[in-house]
């Protein structure tokens, strides 16, 4: 196991940011961490990168003890913090060169590690990092985090504020880094990205609600889920929630996702919708996605007896 931690706790005064987190990440595995803002993801990252000492718990990162051998860990990991943390007044090349030299490596020797990330930046090598677009900044930050051949990579919301095309490219690159046997821990607020991870944990209020492969997590979805396609969907949420068999009704993009604790009769529901004045609606069962699962689990945590 490349990362193996147990019972990590971090408190800020009266506030508990991380409340006992345990998980493992294997070499060559992408482990995703998703959850709302303030769930404690960044605090967890800071503990795993040894930037911050946990108040309780511990474990091993790239084979070294988090508490006693943190200096060994520091030279073997790559970290992309949640905010862009390179020197904006230095050029692309100067930033990369600086981080390479800080870790005592030469760009030429390790260029193969960053080729696919850095190649799109080549034409802009002389440009100051502060003048790059969001997608390019993120590629540069990843290049700087990869140049010293880390065994584990910690990416804290690397694609926030990055356009869809760059996000897809970024994930293609992550898969290639994974193929080299690097353990990758990535936090993301995007559910589509969460589904791309090898394994995934949902985090809320400092705890991991559940973890597993995206497939296994989706199979564990506890309710029955249906979609309603209708014009101006937001108008009907209150009506749907008033139905006794509807557990939850939320907007999922252009459609409404309705969950129920027991299977619903499609014919009956369609008739009920028409009777209630919802015309031209399309009602059908649907496979849950990560977001649906997350909503169901958060609900469960808030009302443990609601199942």
């Amino acid at each position: 196991m490349s990362i193996q931690v147990h019972g990590l706790v971090k408190r800020y005064g009266p506030l508990t940011a991380v409340a006992g987190v345990s998980f493992e990440v294997a070499a060559g595995e992408i482990f995703g961490l998703t959850g709302p803002d303030g769930a404690g993801k960044s605090s967890l990252f800071r503990m795993l990168t040894t930037l911050m000492r946990p108040d309780e718990g511990g474990g091993k990162v790239v084979g070294f003890d988090m508490l006693d051998e943190f200096l060994e860990i520091r030279r073997r990991i790559g970290y992309m913090p949640d905010v862009f943390s390179l020197y904006e007044d230095l050029t692309v090349r100067e930033n990369l060169n600086f981080f390479a030299r800080v870790f005592g490596v030469r760009i030429e020797d390790n260029y193969h590690l960053i080729r696919e990330v850095y190649e799109p930046l080549k034409p802009f090598e002389g440009r100051r990092a502060g003048h790059l677009s969001g997608g390019m900044k993120q590629k540069l930050a990843l290049s700087c985090a990869l140049i010293h051949q880390p065994q584990a990579l910690f990416l804290d919301e690397p694609t926030t504020g990055v356009d869809a095309v760059s996000r897809k490219e970024f994930w293609d690159i992550l898969y290639r880094i994974r193929a080299r046997g690097v353990a990758i821990l990535v936090a993301t607020p995007y559910m589509d990205e969460a589904a791309r991870c090898d394994r995934l944990a949902l985090m809320q209020q400092g705890r991991l609600l559940t973890q597993g492969t995206p497939q296994a997590l989706l199979e564990s979805y506890p309710h029955h889920l249906y979609a309603i396609e209708v014009a101006q969907p937001w108008r009907w949420l209150e009506l749907l929630r008033s139905h006794p068999k509807v557990h939850r009704a939320v907007l999922a993009g252009e459609v409404i996702h309705v969950s129920s604790l027991e299977p619903l009769d499609l014919t009956y529901m369609r008739q009920w919708l028409v009777d209630s004045g919802v015309t031209a609606a399309n009602f059908y069962p649907v496979q849950p996605d990560i977001e649906d699962l997350f909503i169901a689990l958060m609900d469960q945590k808030a009302h443990p007896t609601g199942l």
Binding site: T50, P81, D89, F103, G104, R128
Partner: protein, 368 residues
């Protein structure tokens, strides 16, 4: 490790060189301050503008006017023929002094009759006016003595004011003061800002989890500022000597080492501030209030320490600039060595060690 260190120093120089405004302030400020204090903020005058109302117009009055200008303190910018013109020139701010020479000036002198020269000066600047009046007094007394050849009056006219050049006094005051301010600003303030900036941007976190030892991070960050500060100190001393005729009586190595010591004191203060603050803004306020104000107000640079109330005199003892000014004046003006000046050297060294230890204690390998 050496290569890593130079990578770090190079990066710091990039930061400094790319920030044009700060660079301009850093390199331009010593010149601006020295020139400002040397020329503008001074109580000694040269070429004060004078208007002359010569009612006599004879050979003797012409000689007096000539003698007035010969000393270099006055330059006659207007000769008027009516008293109202003097008022106008004063109001327009074109003259600082006006001299009215009465009619029959030469005749009266030859007849050994008392002559009254009227000297009008701009009362809105009392210090300047007083100085100019005393200059003029000297000139006229000497003139009368020369004209009448009286040995008794010749003795009276030997005023020490004229022999002593007051410009020498103020240059010895302001040059150490300007060095103290500039070095505080660059060493302490810019260092604390530069470290706080890395905290704010999150880059310090990346440095922290790199293999760089913390000591190397700090030394790498301050080294460029040491070099810049030292350069500035040399510029200021050089200008004091070249432009303002300051003389250096003491040992050059001792002077330069003293500057280096004060730079280290200022840097240790800057590093200490940066370990205690999170943002550039607090770093700026902390260094302005905690360092710049005492340096300017309590060091004896502008206000004499002897005339301060006792509590402020006590506080001035913890102002590094006070000891630096004592040290610098001791070396340059009195030619003092370590035997005479060991107290300020010891105080500054003590302060430096104290703040380095304090910073060392609060510099952590982990964030909170």
């Amino acid at each position: 490790m050496v290569a890593t260190f130079w990578a770090f120093v190079q990066k710091e120089f990039f930061h400094i060189l790319r920030d044009r405004r700060t660079l301009f302030v850093m390199l331009g400020m010593p010149f601006a301050l020295v020139l400002l204090f040397g020329y503008a903020v001074t109580t000694d005058f040269k070429h004060a503008s004078v208007a002359v109302y010569d009612q006599s117009g004879d050979m003797w009055s012409q000689r007096l006017i000539h003698q007035m200008q010969a000393g270099g303190y006055f330059s006659v910018v207007a000769s008027v023929s009516r008293k109202e013109e003097i008022d106008r020139l004063f109001r327009q701010g074109k003259i600082k002094v006006a001299v009215v020479i009465p009619s029959h000036f030469g005749e009266s002198l030859m007849g050994c009759e008392p002559v009254q020269l009227q000297l009008l000066s701009d009362g809105s600047e009392p210090n300047i006016a007083l100085t100019l009046v005393s200059y003029m007094n000297d000139i006229s007394t000497r003139f009368v003595n020369e004209a009448l050849g009286s040995s008794a009056q010749w003795l009276i006219s030997l005023q020490p004011r004229m022999v002593y050049n007051p410009a020498l006094r103020s240059v010895y005051m302001f040059v150490p003061g300007v060095i103290a301010v500039v070095l505080m600003l660059i060493s302490a303030m810019l260092t604390s800002l530069s470290i706080a900036r890395e905290k704010e941007r999150g880059t310090l976190n990346l440095l922290l989890i790199s293999p760089l030892p913390p000591l190397l991070i700090i030394v790498g960050k301050v080294l460029p500022y040491v070099l810049l500060s030292f350069f500035n100190a040399l510029v200021i001393i050089g200008m004091g000597i070249e432009v303002f005729g300051m003389r250096m009586w003491g040992s050059w190595p001792f002077l330069l080492l003293s500057c280096l010591l004060f730079i280290l004191t200022a840097l240790s203060l800057g590093v200490f501030i940066s370990t205690r603050v999170r943002t550039q803004q607090t770093a700026l306020f902390a260094s302005l209030l905690g360092l710049m104000l005492p340096t300017v107000l309590l060091s004896g640079y502008i206000f004499p320490i002897e005339s301060m109330p006792t509590p402020l005199q006590v506080i001035s003892n913890v102002t590094p600039a006070k000891w630096f000014i004592i040290l610098l004046k001791g070396i340059m003006l009195k030619g003092g060595g370590l035997d005479a000046l060991w107290v300020p050297v010891a105080v500054l060294s003590g302060m430096t060690v104290f703040f380095i230890l304090l910073s060392w204690k609060s510099f952590k390998l982990h964030v909170e």
